[in-house]
Amino acid sequence: MTATVSRPSSARPVLGKLRDRVVKVAELVTTPLLPADYLDLVDPLRSGAALRGRIEEVRPETRDAATIVIRPGRDWLPHTPGQYVRIGIDVDGVRQWRAYSITSVLGRADGCFTITVKAIPGGKVSNHLVRRARSGTIVQLDQATGDFVLPAQRPEKCLFVTAGSGVTPVMGILRNHVAEHDDVVVVHSAPTAEDVIFGAELRELARTGQIRLVERHTETAGLLDAAALAELVPDLAERSTWACGPVGMLEALEEHWAAAGIAEQLYTERFRPRVLVTGEGGTVSFARSSRSLEVDGATPILDAAEEAGLLMPSGCRMGICYGCVLPLREGAVRDLRTGEVTTAAPGDGVLIQTCISAAAGACDIDH
């Protein structure tokens, strides 16, 4: 690693200069590696290191969900309840990045935060985290991010609509803020009562009158739709609503809220982009990496490139954060969410989000 990282300048110039000099000498000592490469052997969570965390505990919640307690590195910044964190973990030797909502209370005495993960069938990372992750494992982290949070101006009446693991960001909010609100309704849907993540805690909140809880067990009562919701919560038009769950449910809610003319009162959180249209695919070449790949029209360019061993910039993997953007020098890509085709002529360098773009013909990407 020879890349030299720019350092924040110190408020005290003399000390700052001295520090810079020490760092320079350290770099001369360790070249071609960086001092950090050696320090990481001893303390991977130290201040100044790439942001990482250590799994301290894996606590089962339901038969297919677990809470992971993570001690973050010293540069970790406090999150806002409702936000998610991106975690990079090695599964079968391959680093995989996923986003998970933070479920813990702020300012835990032990300095840790928690995420709660539900193992989804065939899910590489979720199954690993729930069933095989061990304490002591080092994971890569990004700072917490996301706008599925309460506004500074707190609403008088709140409604939270969640399904499955969609309860996790809401639990993050409730644990930190439930006491600040008098009128909170939580409608949660899960296959059975045993499958309700945080079931006991939610029922306790309801028993003590802090929330009104409506549990919907889909194995007996069927899927929750917008009409049923309107019956369960007759005053939902007066409420600010946060919804998190499967894409189908969120879209039904969005339609209902839009039809009622209260779309601005609904906040939704998705974990996955919805693929709308797929296309023909093509050859994607990465000039600077001297690689070219045949990619089908349904696979995001990011996934295909990573599968082929390329190091790609990445972020939320659902078209939100723009962490994966690269210039398309020539060619055509299709936005998997909308079907919209973006083309670039030589010299254009159109910036595309590789996580939601599939090849729509031959593509030349500047990477």
Binding site: L28, D90, R95
Partner: protein, 397 residues
Amino acid sequence: MTVLQKKSDNPIAHLTEADIESIGLELDALRQGVMDSRGDADAAYIRRVIDVQRKLELGSRAVLLFSKFPPAWVLGTMGLSVAKILENMEIGHNILHGQWDWMRDPKIHSTTWEWDMASPSEQWKHSHNILHHTYTNVIGKDNDLGYGIMRVDEDQKWVPLYLLQPVWNFVNACFFEYGIAAYDLELGKNLATAERRKDPEFKARGKAVLRKIRKQMTKDYVVHPLLSGPSFLPTLAANFTANVVRNLWSHSVIMCGHFPEGVETFEKKSIDGESRGEWYLRQMLGSANISGSKAMHIMTGNLSHQVEHHLFPDLPSNRYAEIAPKVKDLFDRYGLRYHSASLPRQVGSAWHKVLRLSLPNGWLAQTTPANVPAQVVKLYKMTTGGPKVRRQLQNAA
């Protein structure tokens, strides 16, 4: 006609086109089997090697802070030599091949790695991964073959300058990393004309090499000696020794890979329109293995499995040992010779070839204790005479 086919004992004469194709298919399947089973254990392996190497290097350099005490000097120099060998061979060479890119760890990736070596990894990757591994043992294309300064095949015309070839080879071995930097830059070709010398791309690459060498030298010959205070000179000597040991070692290993007697070389024309099976076959015939212990394999960066490495340059090095018996079995079934011998034997064989080719064709073989004086006179005449004399004496032989 290939250099191979000119031989009286063409090693592939018995293979049909269908044989060559099925060799290709079998090897593809073998490769896929390993690709599909890469996992946690492999990732843990390379991380452990890196961890051990870094601790060994740090420890050795710490011991060398007191290198004016002879035991500290010996211990530190040995440790640092081993650390530098591990760093170049099992770690650097293999990471730069992309053997570990599948882990998607940006810290252990062919595009981000830089190694303890005069040649910047970017330039080495081009000349090694693209030129050497694609054109393995093709005379005039593969610079690894004699690095452009040696006579590597009987077909190359002998001139008296080649008598010095064993000396060149030894000097090159001692300062191997600079030799590699020079041929990654294609110095011989690029310094030849004013136009090439002024080429901005060449100049930029030259600057990058000089920058890298300056950093490397500052580390080993200025900063660490200075940190050693009163042990300045012993530490400098220790670092120099470790670099030479590493250079001699890596040169020996690499010479063993393609240079022992019996390893084939190929003509440029012979690779036109080469099929996948034929490419595999060239790798098989153009490489030689070193047999030995597990520790020896690790110290050679598993280039002791040169045959397997050349067939599958991007498979993780820790997996070559497990596929070696299967590759050998395939050689046996198709009646091909699987070159494998101990390190001293292969080094000896390679040096024998260097010596043999430094002399006119057939000279060494024809020399017996009885005819030494006559042979020396002949060699003297060929060395001092013109091309005509050489041709006459060579044809008379």
